[in-house]
């Protein structure tokens, strides 16, 4: 301890240790590169060596990771040991997220179809051109615009519910749990319980209720707009509680003194909400909207189960389209291209959304 600060004991790095660390890292790297290169050449048919599977490269990567860790400790002593806490997570992320994403881009530029006898080949921009001219893709993207636009409506409903649950109503705890129940249900279960049972045209209780209201022949998935709206209503029913949780947490964290001051100044309930609560809640609201938008962009399960994208593509989503291309048609290259392009579109959209939202929040607060 010196000057009142606690300092960790430092282990001195012996000069020879650093050199050994460098050599271990170089050897590990060289081994990894050689094994990977040999496998790649074998897979491309450039040499006659065949390993049977890609495990040798995986093991060489793991060995390289160990060599990297050992070299860090030998070279940097205590600081190197601290690095070891982060290194496994970094290597895991690299292997399981970054590498597959990059590899995915490679696959996206191939004509890989699992049923093609000639395997897969680099096909340049063919998949992009196909996508550009693919009416199913554009139709699904248009549907996504509608689905994402409804997030604002979902937010408004969620905000209303959160305000309600934040007041001193009777059985507040019960309602808080009850409102969370849809969020606990699997979307697949929702598809069957609501989409295929409650809304069943002949005997579904919701269909009967609609009949009682005067809708002569209630068909929830026959007209394109009704089908689209019904799908998003089911999805919203599952996910609105998620927004409610976020917004409720935000409301409970609001400083009471500001609201009390407004009350003393004679502000009406609406003025209190619009001038104080809403602006103070903007950061939480933006978080809720962004997260919900990301989830909305991935909408697939309910669509696949209830309408399979129909009628005539009216409810199709990009994810359900990718699912059909990959699972039903083994069209690996093209399905990956759609997924990668969609990923890029999502990144651009969310980035822009964040910028606009941040500016708006700054302006309002």
């Amino acid at each position: 301890m010196s000057s009142g600060r606690i300092e960790a004991a430092h282990e001195e790095v012996v000069p020879g240790q650093a050199s050994a660390g460098n050599w271990i890292f170089r050897l590990g790297s060289a081994f990894f590169v050689v094994v990977a290169a040999l496998q790649l050449c074998g897979a491309l048919g450039l040499i006659s060596i065949s390993f049977g599977n890609w495990r040798p490269t995986l093991f060489a990567f793991l060995l390289w990771g160990v060599a990297l860790g050992v070299s860090q400790v030998l070279k940097y002593g205590d600081f190197g040991k601290q690095t070891l806490f982060v290194l496994p997570a970094l290597l895991f992320t690299g292997a399981m997220v970054i590498f597959p994403t990059i590899f995915g881009f490679y696959i996206a530029f191939t004509d890989w179809n699992l049923n093609a006898q000639s395997g897969h080949h680099f096909n340049g921009l063919d998949n992009l051109r196909t996508l550009w001219a693919d009416s199913y893709f554009w139709n699904a993207l248009r549907n996504m615009v509608f689905y994402v636009a409804t997030v604002l409506v979902q937010y408004a409903i969620a905000f209303g519910l959160a305000l309600l649950l934040n007041t001193d109503i009777r059985a507040r705890k019960f309602f808080r749990v009850a409102f969370l129940l849809p969020f606990m249900l699997s979307p697949v279960a929702v598809s069957w319980m609501i989409g295929k049972s409650l809304m069943e045209n002949r005997f579904g209780p919701l269909a009967n209720f609609a009949r009682w209201l005067g809708w002569e022949n209630p068909a929830f998935f026959t007209d394109p707009w009704i089908a689209r709206t019904t799908i998003i209503a089911m999805d919203a029913w599952v996910w609105i509680p998620f927004m409610v949780i976020l917004l409720l947490a935000g409301l409970q964290a609001l400083p009471l003194d500001v609201k009390e001051a407004a009350k003393v100044d004679g502000a009406s309930q609406w003025q209190t909400f619009w001038e104080i609560t809403f602006p103070l809640m903007l950061p939480v609201s933006v978080t809720a909207i962004i997260l919900r938008t990301i989830f909305e962009l991935k909408l697939a399960d309910i669509v696949i189960n209830v309408t399979a994208g129909g009628p005539g593509g009216a409810t199709d989503t990009i994810s359900s389209f990718v699912y059909r291309e990959y699972r039903d048609r083994s069209n690996v290259g093209y399905a990956t291209m759609i997924a990668e392009v969609y990923l890029v579109l999502i990144i651009i959209f969310i980035t822009l959304l964040l910028k606009v939202a941040t500016r708006y929040v700054q302006k309002m607060t």
Binding site: N53, D111, N113, L114, N115, A116, Q117, S118, G119, Y136, K196, E200, N201, R202, N217, P218, A219, F220, F221, T222, P224, A227, V306, T307, A308, G309, G310, P311, G312, G313, A314, R324, R327, D328, R329, S330, N331
Partner: protein, 555 residues
């Protein structure tokens, strides 16, 4: 036979009256089918088949693993004739199959336990859910990582396996052991073969048949109203339609009609995609128009030019578009599962094309309300058939053209070529497959819960079904519709080419748009044809044409 079907059938034995309430139609069809159903040889009282058909026997609940092992042990005779005790000691191989409804692989394990004990071989099991099956299989084939030596597989995938030469050829001794000649004709080569070599030990069969509500077609009020209906399409007196033309009129006629106070509909279409399987149903509507007698081609010609946009197919697609307004309100969103289990069995619709399951389930499932009023027939015919060679419609001198659709062609057991290099493993794997596809054992799987339907001529022996506790009239009616389809000279067989389900899946997307009114039947059919051509090019046209000809037995 499915588990719940079996259990309910067994439960019904307690009330003989329930069975005897069977329809007059069932009795009539049984009588009409007597030539087929009684043509099989009888059996000895103490024969193996008569012994196993009593395991566990009526009223003793669903069979258990102990029963499967007992059946497997009793059916070891043919194995013992070809294999010495302990001959496969030290041999170990893996078996990939399904785990649907705790059937398939679960039964195979039980059947093969005594086989393992006798031969000394050991089996490692790979169980797959149906939903994972296609993706796992295609990935294994494409990446060359097949980690199984024996596989339970549907015939449509034979092309995927065959072109990569992954399948072992069936030895002659297996052909003899399983009594190959006993298969119903349509399951004989080219089905189960690739490039002239037999690869499959069949354990199941498939075909679409028509399920008919007898109460609707015997209703006197409807009969009177039908007399005033203008376009009868040849159906002079009220009754079940025999042609698609009649079926269209009947469906339009029944819109808004009631039977005993309940709203009734005619035919139920399946417009919603179902992972490629919906296309089988559009196919069943088209076969009578598109499958010309003596011509094997009906989806493609011999050069793989799609026929799916010819006038026959367009007419079938248009029929669906025309019929949908007369069907239940949300029919556009009905897949095959919906029409069977949420509509027809609970009492909606008078006519349904489906696999053989419906025939038995109609009388046995809890949700079925039509048990006493259902009858069966092969798919309807057509007054005229399109001759795509001549480019014209023709009326046959023999009457309406019929062409039952053998949709999916059933499950089989296939041995992988990986065992061929080791004579002992090769014999062991084929012996296991032959045991599962044995003649006696197959009668048991047809009658008891297994996931498999009858597929042999000998399965039409109603006395054997009776040993398991079945009512002969009921089973006779069911088997008649199956047999008439299996043995039809103009049955439509699908091409087992690589990627066949990709073709079906693409077609489903375009058909869905057509059924929703976003394009005309011709435009939709043209789009399907264009997409199929594009896919054929992508998969390699030259090879696909070659494989098509092999699959259809055109070479």
């Amino acid at each position: 036979m499915r588990v719940h079907v079996y259990e309910l059938l067994m439960a019904m034995q307690k009330s003989r009256r329930d069975f005897l309430k069977g329809t007059a139609g069932a009795a009539a069809t049984l009588a009409a089918s007597s030539s087929i159903l009684s043509s099989t040889p009888s059996f000895a009282e103490d024969s193996i088949v008569s012994q196993i058909m009593k395991i566990p026997g009526a009223g003793n609940g669903s069979p258990t693993d102990a029963d499967w092992q007992k059946v497997g042990a009793l059916c070891l005779g043919p194995t013992k004739a070809n294999v010495q005790p302990g001959e496969f000691n030290g041999v170990e191989f893996s078996f990939m199959g399904l785990n649907n409804q705790n059937l398939h692989n679960f039964l195979f394990r039980g059947f093969l336990t005594p086989w393992e004990a006798y031969t000394g071989a050991k089996i490692k099991w790979i169980d797959l859910a149906q939903a994972d099956y296609n993706a796992r299989l295609q990935q294994s084939i494409a990446t060359g990582t097949a980690d199984f030596d024996i596989i339970e597989m549907g015939a449509p995938f034979e092309g995927d396996m065959g072109v990569k030469d992954l399948l072992s050829d069936m030895p002659d001794w297996v052909k003899t052991q399983i009594d190959f000649d006993d298969y119903v004709d349509y399951l004989k080569p080219p089905v189960g073969t690739w490039n002239g070599k037999i690869h499959r030990v069949t354990i199941d069969s498939d075909c679409h048949t028509m399920n008919i509500r007898t109460d609707v077609f015997s209703d006197s009020d409807l009969a009177k109203q039908w007399a005033d209906w203008k376009d009868k399409a040849g159906l002079a007196t009220w009754g079940a339609p025999k042609t698609w033309q009649q079926l269209q009129q009947v469906t339009k006629f029944l819109k808004g009609k009631k039977v005993k106070g309940k709203e009734v509909f005619g035919f139920l279409d399946q417009p919603k995609p179902w992972g490629g399987f919906q296309f089988y149903f559009t196919g069943s509507r088209a076969t009578a128009y598109a499958k010309y007698p003596g011509e094997k081609n009906w989806l493609f010609d011999e050069n793989m030019k799609p026929l799916v946009n010819n006038p026959a197919w367009v007419r079938a697609i248009q029929d669906v578009v025309d019929a949908l307004p007369s069907e239940p309100a949300d029919q556009i969103n009905a897949d095959p599962g919906t029409t069977a289990f949420q509509q027809f069995l609970p009492g909606t619709g008078a006519l349904l094309e489906w696999w053989g399951d419906i025939g038995t389930m109609a009388r046995t499932t809890d949700t079925s309300t039509i048990g006493d009023v259902v009858d069966f027939d092969i798919l309807p015919g057509s007054d005229d058939v399109y001759n795509f060679r001549k480019g014209q419609w023709e009326k046959l001198a023999s009457g309406p053209n019929q062409a039952p659709n053998m949709a999916y062609l059933g499950w089989g057991i296939y041995v992988m070529k990986t065992v061929d290099s080791d004579a002992k493993r090769h014999k062991a794997a084929w012996s296991a497959a032959a045991h599962l596809g044995g003649k006696d054992l197959s009668m048991w799987t047809a009658a008891y819960p297994s996931g498999f339907q009858p597929y042999r001529k000998s399965h039409t022996n109603l006395d054997l079904w009776a040993l398991a506790g079945y009512d002969k009239k009921y089973i006779g009616s069911y088997m008649k519709s199956q047999s008439d389809s299996y043995n039809h000279p103009n049955s439509a067989i699908e091409p087992r080419i690589p990627g066949i389900f990709q073709y079906y899946s693409i077609a489903e997307d375009e058909l869905q748009k057509t059924f929703a009114g976003k394009q005309t039947a011709q435009q939709g059919a043209d789009n399907v044809a264009a997409a199929w051509d594009k896919l054929t090019d992508k998969l390699g046209r030259e090879n696909q044409v070659k494989y098509y000809r092999i699959a259809m037995g055109l070479t």
